[in-house]
Amino acid sequence: MHAQLTNRLDVGDERLALVISGAKEIEPGSRAMLLLAEGLFRLDVVVAEDTLRTVLRNLSGGVIETETTLGTVTGESILFGDAASYEPGRAGLGFTITTGADAVWVRAMIATLRFADRGTVQVGAQAILLQAPVS
């Protein structure tokens, strides 16, 4: 079963706005579904040594255009407790899903903690989905 939290956000108009967050603790080399937005996309992750690979699957029937500039991903990723001793890592991902005249912006932050004693890596993420204004 995939565990994530999904909630609608109020942006003051009728546009679609969602927050999705989730985490998976996985063994290096294995692939896991991290976030799922039904009918839009699925984000998988693979951890291999010191590399985090993301696999974005398009479930929309439209076109996904990824952004290569990480500066477009805004927000903060914060550590607390003993997290600093678990080799924390951080990445960002931004893309737009376009279906006909509709577009949805997606901004995701991903962070990792390496639990060496368990031989696993925890990958957590939060994504904001926001429907673009109709032009």
Partner: protein
């Protein structure tokens, strides 16, 4: 947010809402989902089970409330024995 290990090795996570408005949050504690409210200018305590029972995970998604609190926050806390590690994500919407 603070997290401490009690004498019985259970972990107590305290989330302090410093805003003047209450905040709604979705919670997933070891796979059990719930909705909670974080009272304005007050602390809310969430108890994680004691040690000896493996790894415990708390996932909290705190939703915005108007201009007073425009950010959405996700907290991920993992505890095992006396070790506690957490990640938080903060995003502004709009």
């Amino acid at each position: 947010m603070t997290a401490v290990v009690d004498r019985d090795n259970s972990t107590e996570v305290t989330v302090r809402n410093g805003m003047d408005v209450a905040l709604q949050a979705a919670q997933d504690l070891d796979g059990t989902a719930a909705s909670i409210s974080l009272a304005a200018d007050a602390a809310t305590t969430i108890q994680l089970p004691g040690a000896g029972l493996g790894v415990h995970r708390l996932h909290l998604q705190i939703l915005p409330n108007g201009r007073e609190s425009p950010d959405v926050v996700s907290l991920l806390v993992t505890s095992e024995d006396s070790a506690i590690a957490g990640q938080a994500f903060v995003s502004a919407i709009g």
